[in-house]
């Protein structure tokens, strides 16, 4: 078995797809493979599957050492990935820092954006960005619309930011959003009493948005708003933790 096939097998085991024919030594071997190939996250995850005192003393000691290395490196990796762009360019000196800030501004990348988010965008990874995944209970970090990243802390904020983004591009046509409504309920209105008490005024407009919805509905409705204005709704992504 080569590195890639073993990696697949380890992943399947961590995801619970393999339940039979695995002994403690097998897990020890996998942890060693993870250590050798520097798959720190998987190595650390495998540690949880190993029962105490399932190996002899020598192997137990070695395993603890390897596992500690995996955990330490995983933490370091995580820390580096969690660094925001602002923190990263904070280490640069004067001119370089200014240049970096300008470059990020040109690219539409906010200083609060985390390195891992940018890497995800570059690699076109959708796992951390939501497309068909369930957003319920996930904490929001930012949104991406038309390739631009905007910080957001809640699903409601993300939703309002998308609408704000749309209004910035169609300042003369804000009223069109009022056409978006349910069978019996209004989603937007100028009169706050048409909506529930969970409404909020859309920034830079006199229109209120209904916010008494769950995370998935707000995300879907954000996409509908983009569609209504014939903007690229596929580009709307929510970055979650």
């Amino acid at each position: 078995m080569d590195a890639e096939s073993q990696k697949r097998k380890i992943r399947r085991f961590i995801n619970g797809a393999i339940k039979e024919g695995i002994d403690a030594f097998c897990i020890y071997q996998w942890i060693e493979r993870c250590h050798f190939e520097k798959w720190w996250e998987m190595g650390a995850a495998l540690g949880a599957h190993l029962q105490p005192n399932s190996l002899n003393n020598d192997y137990e000691k070695r395993m603890e050492f390897i596992l500690a290395e995996c955990r330490r490196n995983h933490q370091q990796e995580k820390k580096a990935q969690d660094k925001t762009m602002g923190e990263m360019i904070g280490d640069l000196d004067g001119v370089k820092r200014v240049e970096a800030v300008q470059l990020l501004k040109k690219l539409g990348i906010d200083l609060d954006t985390k390195l891992k988010d940018i890497e995800n965008v570059i690699q076109g990874r959708s796992s951390r960005r939501t497309s068909n995944t369930d957003l319920t209970g996930k904490s929001v970090r930012a949104i991406i619309v038309h390739g631009q990243t905007y910080p957001a802390r809640t699903h409601k904020e993300a939703y309002l930011k998308v609408i704000q983004f749309v209004f910035q591009h169609h300042p003369q046509d804000k009223d069109r959003i009022l056409n978006l409504q349910g069978r019996t309920r209004k989603y937007f209105s100028r009169n706050p009493h048409d909506l529930t008490k969970y409404r909020e005024r859309i920034p830079d407009s006199d229109i209120y948005a209904e916010l008494n919805e769950n995370a998935n509905t707000l995300y879907r409705r954000g996409k509908e708003v983009l569609q209504l204005y014939k903007m690229d709704h596929e580009s709307f992504k929510i970055m979650t933790d």
Binding site: M1, D2, A3, S5, Q6, E20, G21, I22, D23, F25, C26, Q29, E32, R33, F36, L55, N56, Y59
Partner: protein, 95 residues
């Protein structure tokens, strides 16, 4: 006489589908030259460790010839050297 390979189901029924026995069969097949899957040096190293753990000294010694020099990093090479020394020590003790 043609000896047919046992199926996974048969092995499971006999209680022989354990990681330990499965890997032993794999090692033996590999040493006979009948193992068709891709193998890298680290896999051979893992098998050597398995042999050390279960005290299959003769299998471990036979596997040692299949690790290419400098295919492991310094730490693992050290560990491998230690394991091979243990194999030789135990083999000579037994003989």
């Amino acid at each position: 006489m043609l000896i047919r390979k046992k199926t996974v189901r048969q092995l499971k029924n006999e209680g022989n589908y354990t990681a330990q026995l499965r890997q032993k069969r794999e090692i033996e097949r590999f040493l006979k030259g009948n193992y068709i899957k891709d193998i890298d040096s680290f896999q051979v190293y893992q098998w050597i460790e398995r042999c050390h753990f279960h005290q299959w000294w003769h299998l471990g010694i036979s596997l040692s010839g299949y690790i290419m020099p400098n295919s492991l990093n310094a730490d693992y090479q050290k560990r491998l050297d230690f394991l091979l020394k243990e194999f030789s020590r135990n083999m000579s003790k037994n003989s």
